[in-house]
Every structure is written in C-alpha cells, then in structure tokens.
Symmetry: C2
Subunit: 417 residues, 2 copies
Amino acid sequence: MTGTEVLTGRVSDLNGPWLAEQLRKAGVDVGYTVVVGDRPTDLVDVLDFLARARVDLIVTSGGLGPTADDLTAAVVGDWQGRPSAVDPALEQRIAAIVERLSARRGWTVDPEAMAAGTAKQALVPKGAEVLEPTGTAPGLVVPGGPGPDRPPVVVLPGPPSELQGMWPAAVASSLVSAALAGRAELRQSTIRLWGTPEAAIAATLRRLEGDLGDLEITTCLRGGELEVVTRYGVALEERYQRLVDAVREEYGAAVFSTDGSTVDDQVARLLSERGLTIATAESCTAGLLAGRLTDAAGSSAWVRGGVVVYSNEAKHDLADVRTELIERHGAVSEEVAVALANGARRRLGADVGVAITGIAGPGGGTEQKPVGLVHLCVSGPDGRLSRAAVLPGGRSQVRARSVTVALHLVRELLQAG
Amino acid sequence: MTGTEVLTGRVSDLNGPWLAEQLRKAGVDVGYTVVVGDRPTDLVDVLDFLARARVDLIVTSGGLGPTADDLTAAVVGDWQGRPSAVDPALEQRIAAIVERLSARRGWTVDPEAMAAGTAKQALVPKGAEVLEPTGTAPGLVVPGGPGPDRPPVVVLPGPPSELQGMWPAAVASSLVSAALAGRAELRQSTIRLWGTPEAAIAATLRRLEGDLGDLEITTCLRGGELEVVTRYGVALEERYQRLVDAVREEYGAAVFSTDGSTVDDQVARLLSERGLTIATAESCTAGLLAGRLTDAAGSSAWVRGGVVVYSNEAKHDLADVRTELIERHGAVSEEVAVALANGARRRLGADVGVAITGIAGPGGGTEQKPVGLVHLCVSGPDGRLSRAAVLPGGRSQVRARSVTVALHLVRELLQAG
C-alpha cells in the first residue's frame, strides 16, 4: 500500500468518491469509506476501527447541522478527549450568515430557535481548528487524541457544495498537511473500451501478468463501458505504457480513451474543435441526452437544443416525422430514428442531429420489440449512422444506457468524418 | 438498537442505500456500510471489524467478475475457513449464459479466455449455497466460520440490476432467514417540507422533546427539501402521529408529504387523476425536467414531451418566444419564462406548460443576474404561477435544484386548482 491510509466516516454517496479523488490526486490512498448512522456509539465504533487500522487521517462528512441528531463534532471531540465549548466569535459569525440567508429567502423564524441551533453549531472541541462555514456549518480539524494511535480528524459538513468549498481550507491546515506530507506521487490512469466484454480483458490481463508486476489494475463495467483503472508509482510509467500498447493492439478501435477523457469530453471536444452544433430528438430518454450534453460548462457553444417527443403527435409536430411512417414501421424503428435525427437537425438548424427512440419498459414490449429495444441515429455533415440495441436492466438503466450508446454513436460519426 | 445489525461491505453508491432500504423494511437495522477497495487484506480487516461488532449478517456486493482483481468470493471463503473449489455444474451454467450473451451482442472472444473467466466465477467456498446468476456472476451464501462470532456472509454481484434481481433468492435462503428471524417490525416514516429552514425544525423538535420519547428522528436537507425521517416500533404509532400533527400545525402548507410520496409522485398523481397532460420548455436544465417527469413508468399518459431551448433561436423557433421579448428583458426573465411555458403548452397541445430559464454557471452571471438565478413558470387551465430564485451551489446543483423547484411549482398550481 502506497501513501496514507485515509478513512472517511459518515460519507454520503457524493462525498466519498469526491474526497477519494481529491486525496488520490495528492498521492494519498483511501483505505475505507464507511457510512454510519446518527448513533454516537456507532460512530465511535468506526473511529475505533479506523484508529486500530492505523490510518494517518480520518475525514468525516455530515452531522454538523443545527438539529440535535447532528452529533459528529461533539462525538469526535469526546473521542479525542477534547470537551467542546461554544466559541462566541464563531457563534456570531454563524448567526450573521443565518440572518442573511433568512432575509434573502423570506423565512420568518423564531429568533430563540435560531439561537439554539447557532450555539450548537458553534461548539468547538478543545484545541480544534475551525474551518470557516461555506454554508452555515463550520468545519473542524481536531488534533490527535489521548492514545498515540488516534489520528487527527477533519470534520466536514454533509452538503457536497459546502464540503467541496471547505476542502481547500482543510488541506491548508498545518495538521492535515503534516499528516499527508511525504506521499509518493501515485498516478492513476484509465483505459476505456466500448463494446468489449469484461471476460476478454480478464484474459488479456492474465496473459500479460508477468509483465505487469506492481501495476495495481482493476476493471469495471460501467453502463456498457469497460474501464481499466491502473494505479502505479512514477517509476512504473514505462511499464504502464506497455500495458496501454498491448490493450490497444488487441482491441483496436474499441479503446476509445487512454487520456482520462470520457465519451462526454470527447463529443464536446469533437464538436467544439470542428465548430459544429448539435440538436437532439428523444423519445424514451425524454431529455436525458440533452441534459447530459449540457452537463459541461460552455456547452451552449455547440448545443442548440432539442425536442422531447414522447408522444407520436410530438414526433410529428416537433420533428416532422410523417404519421404514415410511424404507422408503417412503429415509433420504435430505424426509419423513425432516422427521421427524428434529420428533423431535430433541420428544426434547430444544427449540423448534427441525434435521435433515440425505444422501449424503456417495464410495459410496452412485444415479442418482436422487447423491452430494452432502442433505435438510435446520428445524422451529420459527413453522413449518418444508425444502430439498434437491446439494452439490459430496468427502466432507468435502459434510459441511461441509451444515452451512453447515443454519445458513442456521435463520437464514431465525428471521428470518422 | 432495534433489529439485527447488518453490515455491508464493498457497496457501491446504489447498492448500499438499496440494500439498507430492503433490510429496513424487514425490520433489520443496518449498522454500517463500508466501501473498501480490491485489496484482500482491506476486505479481511473490514470483515474482522464487522465480526467484532457482533453483527448477525454481512452482505457484500461486487468483486465477482471474471477478472483476477475480483476476489470477494475467495476472500470471504478463506475468512470463514472454507476453501473454494470449482463447481462443475455451475461452471457449465455460467458458460451457457456467457455464450448466449456473446452471440446476442456479436462479441468474438477467445474461448480459452472465456473458459478461464468462467472457471473463476464458478469457485464456491466449501459448504456455501449458490445463488443463481441474474447476469453472469453467481452469488453466494457462505455459512458462519470457525469462530462463534463470524456471521453468515451474503456475497452479491456489484451491478445494481444483478444484485436487485438476486436479492429475493438471498432472502429465501434458510441461513439468511434464520439470521434475520424474529425482528420486531420497525416502521420508517418521512415528513417532507418545502421552504422550511432546518434550524426551524430543529427548534420544533427540541420543544417537543419530552413528548417524542423513543422516536428516532433524523432531519436532512435534500436539494432544498427538508426531510424528517422517523423510525419507531409499532407500539409508538400514536406518538408518531402526534409528531406529524405538531409539525403540520406549525408549518401548514410547507408540509407537502407525510405518506412517503415524493414531489414527483404527487405531480404524477395530480396530472393522472385530473386527466391533464404536461409539456416542458427548458433552457438551463436542457431536458432534465422532462427526463425526471418521465422517470416513472406509465408517464406517457400525461407527459406530451417538451422542447430544449438552449439557444435564443430555439426559444423562438420551438416555443414562439418573440425575439423582441428576449432583447428587452433578457433570456433569463419572468417574461421569457411565461412565454416559454405558454409556448410549450401550445406547441405540444398540453394542458399544463412548465418552463425553466436560468444561469447555471459557472460563467454568464452579472451583478443584476447572478449565477444561480432561475426564472420558472407553470401555466395551466387554472391559471399561472411564476417564481424566481437564486439557487446555491455549482452548475449541476443549480440545474438539479431548478428541476425540483419546477416540480413544486407544478404541484402548487395543480393543488390550488
């Protein structure tokens, strides 16, 4: 194991992965992410476990709100043998924030109630460093406790935006930087493949085993994409490049990314570099593709917009799909996908049109057209690509996966052009 | 603590909450959710921790793929003192599944490579019960190990659809039902409020404290909604109702749900019961509202579709917003939101039109119109509601939150009508 073991308690879905990513970039290895409820004894059990595992730093998130069930700060303080007391200056700063927020949102709150919540949030364990609130809750850096094996604990708020806003201050704290000092730089690189089964990669890795040595490789299927994630020390860079070359040689065009970029990044780059605009027509995904195309800041430069054509009337009215075409081939058909892509392109005056029509389920499937059947089409200045797929999983998986297939189709058309 | 402590290892974002929900319904209390990497020693440390915490059952997810880094089954088997061996009949069943999948997707894979992966997935610890694959990986129920304190471990695959498909078989296993037997039924009920600060609820709960006794209450802010989640034994039903009444009395219409329904459920029900259809016009959210309105199966009965009008031209071309209106008031304005809602309604022939236009950031903000400013409008048969809000957080938070605000606006208009 390289780097520090960092343990993270009470982490919500978003905070765990985000913190792990930040720490990994700093060469720090996250040992465990533990999610634990609001019971003090459970939190103490986890802290004990992490201390026994001899980690160098513990990061907690959540449990800093004004309500009585939010106990993290006090529990951590007690665990470190550091009783908490109200910090009057901090209390005033929090009160000022709450007042400003209440005024802006037009809340009328009982001042006494507010004062109780504010006093609770201003409790600071003895000797702890305060991290200024980015929402209303302050964070803490609590120094190591009574035993030699109790590491410092960084206590952060639960809302992801507050946690992320506070993280730079946490890292700048001298206690934290001391705990994380001297880490060897650990690289993490990802190879992404599209349309390759996990078992094939497993065989390739088994065959290469002797040559891979200390590369730490994990593979993961993610919505139809196969990710090969490798962690390695700087000295192994050349060995990692040999792995990349071997995978490229064996899988050719199925390897769509080795530089960390996602298919979203690549589609954005291809459109932006070529100065092309894009428009969508979506039936079963009903806006999720357009939503994903606009996740990135700046996407208004290439995304024109789109139409959500859930009903057949909408397909006709908003994307000029002839009613007769739908009657003959059905709304889920290659013909309608092509007409939708062309319609979106024309109606929005875009260079590229992309369409999805399918049966997300759970109802609506037939023997000929089962649940999961999706027809897709991309139409652009360099021609057109159509595809049909039967996607596995429930309604939300079929919808999410359809969007991923559509992005790959756009990528393929633009790369070929 | 009520019920069994169940500990979950190697859980991904989706599986942890899903399993916790299933177990909670069965009256089982989840003690910890631990996410751990692919290193065997880390997994063993976590198993040891959970055993020491004297849980009755451990559930793991993930690490069952054909690749060499997927080690959960073997590690758990070894930990229980149960060496693994290939189950030949299981191996054949997995091979048949992989063959069928490969044929359907047109994969060409080296048969030897496939065989190695299949043999790896057919490894079964001595005495363990096999759960038939719902994807390609079988699950396992591994009985308790050498020490008296090692509980049975349920080993499930990582992909959520596979895990969820396998869960009924896991629960039906006699080992699992024995471990979970005799649980007192534990209810969990949620009160949802819209537009109430967490500090206010904190004060209310503090005031009621004497009357709440053994109700286990947690509050949580989730995208602007405030959730008050209470767990209690059946005998405390009346006491819980008193809490609900007290919160209702204090917060009135801000309490939008006490029956577990989300705002999505309520909007769907209001539209469906009144036989109304809906259409969207989205700028900064670019399809996310339409995507969320169609998350529910059967939504095609009330969702007509929508337009994603990212560019000003699209606002004009697809939703009839006059260019002159945009020039005078700006694309992010109440006037344009109203025009978009009316345009969506008219263009899609829907009863209700809902529109979002805002500045999601990070760029594009001004002093008058900062990042986070969103104008929304719902227009329906009973009239119209407009709202402006400055939403906190980064780009994705502003977008997600805008969708939630829009759903509440639809709910308010339809409930008033």
